[in-house]
Symmetry: C2
Subunit: 295 residues, 2 copies
Amino acid sequence: MDRMIEGQDQGAQAASFQIDTMLRFKSVANFAAAGVGERSNLSGLLQLMGAEMSDVHLVADTPVPLRSLRAGEVLFHEGERAEAIYFVRVGTFKTFHTGADGYEQVLSFVGRAEVLGFDAVGLQRHPTAAVALENSSVYVVLMRDMFALSQHISAFGRVLHLATGCALAHSSELADMMAAVAAEVRLARFLVQLSKRMAACGQSPRRFHLRMSRRDIASYLGVAHETVSRSFSALVNWGYLQVNIREVEILKMDALKVFACSTRRPADEIGRSHDAFLHLTRPPVGHRELYNASL
Amino acid sequence: MDRMIEGQDQGAQAASFQIDTMLRFKSVANFAAAGVGERSNLSGLLQLMGAEMSDVHLVADTPVPLRSLRAGEVLFHEGERAEAIYFVRVGTFKTFHTGADGYEQVLSFVGRAEVLGFDAVGLQRHPTAAVALENSSVYVVLMRDMFALSQHISAFGRVLHLATGCALAHSSELADMMAAVAAEVRLARFLVQLSKRMAACGQSPRRFHLRMSRRDIASYLGVAHETVSRSFSALVNWGYLQVNIREVEILKMDALKVFACSTRRPADEIGRSHDAFLHLTRPPVGHRELYNASL
DNA sequence: CGATCAGTTGAAGGGTCTCAACGCGAGTGG
DNA sequence: CCACTCGCGTTGAGACCCTTCAACTGATCG
């Protein structure tokens, strides 16, 4: 709403956009000197993001730097000047916002073939931080190259739009998560969402390994980490899944999904199936009727 | 419905209460400058979004359809086929997701010069619905035109990227909102955020009119609507602001911002300790280090 | 082997949800 | 014009889930 374009290269502007893309990639050398490891090219990025092969071969030789991170390493800090956006090639990240009192609010978990740092576009600085949860590597696309690339290479423009659209959709899932008042429901939704994303990556949707700690999950879901632990125990007791520290196996996927759909009850809907007596560690479905809409 | 152009010109307000909405729009400087005269071409859109004039004049004659909506009217339904993205020219919208049981989760409030419906890019259908909270109008950019426009017209590409980046940043603010467990803090953050956005639109950040109902706010904040009401009362009692139904006036902006920063735990202690109302420096009881995770 | 951290579980207290009731304004139709 | 309805907003009271503090286990590490 205020300043927009002036951030990256206001002097350049329209004229610079006519410059050949390859020329602008001189900056790659600088980046490599700054500690970026091996180099890859645009075709790899586009394939990763699922672009059509017919589009890919045209631009196969455009270089794109790559950056590898160890578990716990920081990709970018909060408030840092935003110099690039990133596409996750392998690994997992968490993005978070640190409050004035030091409270760490996890905002998203980002996996393979997803974008990182795009929310810095339009601001000069990253509004969030990102750290690797495991050994990972990302494609690095400099901000000043982004506009040119998306204009000159249609495949990249499409990929970028798709990825940001998905990122936007993901962030609304976070709201869905927190919308559920009951902590067990939040956790169930989290697991269902995770399961879907595992499936999308070609991995098993029923049995997977959590990359994030209980504290991260707790922050993401907006509850205390003890509550996450208790919720895991509850879901196990009810037979939905099996848990061993960070190994999760979903035993009854359909039932879990149904359970995950329970939301705060709308004001106009009145649950009549009231049974005040079964409220202790019991039925997998239908317990705590107060929060479940009668199905 | 009592809708008014809140903000800097209180004098003109009282008189314009009874005047037809459209007439009032013409009388306000902002709208007059933006050109209410149905200039439905790309240059209007780009100006709205803050693009540089040097970029705008080059493409001034590309037509872009416009759509007007009355208060309560639906822009697009959830699950509907996504055919376009929208840029808000005038008015306010809410986007929301309807659960299987009918619970309506509000995901965002979208105002002037912001994007709507971009999360549908990549999916064929809108993952969320959008309805107008007041009489509004939007620029309509068809999906099939979007790629071409952003490739051939650099200004549009920039504007699109910036807008989506802002949308992403906004959605993370929602998480910040829900992260604060205390309901009063959530509401305080909501008001602070709203205040900033009003200021960004050139309107008064201290006194404004809420376009959304208590229920919408409640859904957005993830609490019951009664709790929102109680939280308003609490903030008023503590002297932070004055409220009359949907009219809000912030009395102590700095104190409110400080209060909004408190995470987790009794908003009580902070709010009630205003014996000496010079209580600006408040380390919010930092005993929440437990939530800091590894780095 | 202490030290530290992640994860689990228990007990107590408090904040929020739900269920009520009430006042208020707008739209409606007799 | 007025009674009526309906939705919005407020407030009170009780139930209950979550937070907090605490202790305990097991794993990793120097």
